[in-house]
Amino acid sequence: MSAQITEDLVTIEVDGQPVQARKGAMLIDVTDAAGVYIPRFCYHKKLTVAANCRMCLVEVERAPKPQPACATPVMDGMKVFTKSPKAISGQQATMEFLLINHPLDCPICDQGGECELQDLALGYGSAVSQFTERKRVVRDKNIGPLVQTDMTRCIHCTRCVRFGEEIAGLRELGATGRGEDMEIGTYVAQAMVSELSGNVIDLCPVGALTSKPYRYSARAWELQQHDAVAIHDCVGSNVHVHAKGQVLKRVVPMENEGINETWISDRDRFSYQGLRHEDRLLTPRIKENGAWRECDWETALVTLEAAVTEPGKSNRLGALAAPSSTCEEMFLLQRFVRGLGSANVDHRLRQHDFSGDSSEPRFPSLGFAFSELEQADTIVIVGGYPRHDQPLINHRLRKAALRGAQVIAIDSLHQEYNFDLSAQLAVAPSALVAILGAVTRAVVERATGAGGALAQFTPRAEATRLAELIAAGQKILVVLGNRAQMHAERSRLFSLAATLVQSLNGRSGQLTDGANAAGAWLAGAVPHRGPGGREAGAIGYCAARMLTTPLDAYLLLGFEPDRDCSAPATAVATLVQAKFVAALTAFTSPTLEQVAHLLLPIASFGENEGSLVNASGAWQTFVPAVKAPGSARAAWKILRALGDRCGLPGFTAVTCADITTELKALCGIPRVEPLNPRPLPGGHANAAPGIEPRLELVVQVPLNRTDSLVRRASALQQMPQVGDEGVHLSPATLATLKLQDQAQVLLNVGGADVSAIAMSDSSVPDGCCLIYATTNLGTQLTTAATVTVRGAGGTR
């Protein structure tokens, strides 16, 4: 390998210095690597070369004209001059042309102070312009709630256009018109809807595309930059947060090739807006005689201590944490609960099936680096929609697909991907196991001839076809997504996936809900294992059990029971029966006020410190960028004070880093493990789902509704991907039920009838009903896996 590389190396001379480079590499990449700066606008290392701005002109020996460094491949012996009079005059001339039409309005431009054009104009621009004619003016476009346009400032570098086509996979922006009349826009008034659209803000070298929510709220030089980790999915994108004083003003990507490359999702970029929502809890509150009043921390902690240490009630305490809580918070939470003699602690708020608990790996993960997704030739996504659940995982899948890998989706919704899938199968949840079983059986039989326990799965034509596709791969990855995690027979799906890849020499892994499911397992925030995956003495209640069987007292950390659990209605009904519920939360809500007796304000994104473990097993630590507002405190501090007050051992850490160190020592180096193939439990008969009278429930958490912070970020809430209040049924199901699209219906989810609107949706398999979690309709869901829908007369 290395010999080959050496053969491909050439030596060129840049400004008199010899530089080694890979043959055929573009000059600008070589000079960048060598630390020689060449000005540029249209070039971006993650985009194709357009070579349209001409700012990167350099002198190349024996070339008659200056050459664009971004489009000139290096050749052995090439002599390049980046600062010769010829190069500089080419760059200056380019700058003069660019400034012909560019407004000189930097003082009122949001990009001012961090504008590539402004910077380069300083270096290469002339103080006087030869151009005295009028500058052109381009009308601004409204392209949605996230990206602000000032198109007169556009310099036509087409980075944003190439981003749409090459990265977002959604060609929304384009260059219409010609010459002087060329404009960047959507042509017909239209909003950008890509889940990655905000990245054009960073890409645009000038102030043509800027952040709408951030607009005019600060100047670049007033901002302090801090490093942070995004908290909305298990990618754990690295970000910079920019704060003005104690106010978090914006979030931009921090480059990390192994995790988020140079991108972040819109969810990670704009969620900070929720921090200042009016629901933000600023002081502890206590409920007395049914009325809420503010109290000080002392009162709050005394009340909490009294409630949870009531004699004889120790095992009647339950603790539930959002799966995006930090490792340190979950570590202290479980230590607190276990210290009081209970083992009821969990973070798997959306999980239904806990039967596989004992055979789970030490912590859930993909089991491989994100970049390996790009190297696979066959990727099977089982149950999940990474495009919305983990947008940057989807980006890796897309790259794999563009490289020629086959990506296959087996799910309960026919979701839209921004690349071509090789096969897509959407079946009712109950049939998902049957399909995966049949695929696995077909694959195993091809390999070894005998099916064994797999004989319980009836062969199916579509499964055999998929099996053939999958078995044709050399590097096979099977990824279980968020819907698989929520599946009623999760454990069987996971066993099948493990068996499938075992016979193919492939690998399997899982994506999880929230940002830190992996950290939760490592921290011991599961009822059957302690920190570091150690056996816990007593086995406590899992989340589902805690939320169906009332306990005496509950501690809730960082979530809303009516939005973030698999069976919100059941959860709320259970919690109201408890004698005492304390919620550590950044936001209050009517439901929290209904179920809780004590509300404790906690630090949120950018204010908190601790660590998160992402889906590739990367343990990432962050510190606060700004102070939490009011008297809100980091949850780890609250838990430490509480444990200390209750006289429990192990609550003396002075800093968050002490806790991290202690936990890491317990975990060793967290080695990612694949799924365990485990004995396949028998299941229900593989009955085809009947339409009448019950419909199988399919739940999707909308892209921009994942957690309490995102749900309060105003711009994201104006995007289309926030779910809706409809009961989504396939056209065939509607016909069978004799319902029209938009008909008023009565939905029964296992309690009282709820009125709703039926919506025709061909992405839903027949006999199923899609309801978006976290919507008002979603809060009505119970533990029932099926629902009934019947007409209520009338159409909306």
Partner: protein, 165 residues
């Protein structure tokens, strides 16, 4: 391609587009976009609508914006409603020297419109000046619906315009 596209595009247009698609390698189907727009514009009496461009985009499997880009780039495509006879009077150098400007002024007077406008009956569209139409030997000249009329005089123009239906 969906049902709606075949409703928007006539079967004849689809057949013509298919013929063009067949001329290119399958992965370069997009090359048929110019021919497709030309045919669709022709059938629509001289201009494109967003609906038609969207239909072409779907038919060729292109992003809509990619079709808008092409349609707005080339001056032979009209993306706003215009009269269905397209009249271009050359005023480039040779024609200018031979009275092209007067010819244009005459056409404007006869039609009662300025360059860039269409007559209210939707019949004629006076297309903004293009570059030299490469018929300098017959200057002054104009082009109506791709047909060249050379060595123009005001009388000749009257006759030609009178014959337009």
């Amino acid at each position: 391609m969906s049902a709606t596209d075949t409703q928007v595009l006539s079967s004849h247009a689809c057949a013509v587009i298919d013929e063009w698609i067949a001329k290119y390698p399958p992965e370069q189907k997009r090359s048929a976009v110019l021919a497709a727009l030309r045919e669709v514009q022709h059938e629509n009496h001289g201009f494109l609508t967003t609906e038609l461009m969207d239909a072409v985009a779907n038919y060729l499997g292109l992003a809509r914006i990619a079709v808008y880009e092409v349609a707005s780039f080339y001056s032979m495509f009209e993306t706003k409603p215009v009269g269905h006879h397209s009249i271009s009077v050359c005023t480039n150098i040779s024609c200018m020297l031979r009275g092209g400007d007067e010819m244009l002024a005459h056409v404007e007077k006869r039609l009662g419109i300025k360059v860039g406008g269409s007559t209210s009956d939707g019949k004629c569209y006076l297309k903004p000046e293009e570059e030299c139409l490469a018929a300098c030997a017959g200057a002054p000249m104009m082009m109506i619906d791709h047909i060249y009329y050379e060595n123009l005089t005001t009388e000749k123009i009257d006759q030609i315009l009178a014959k337009l239906t």
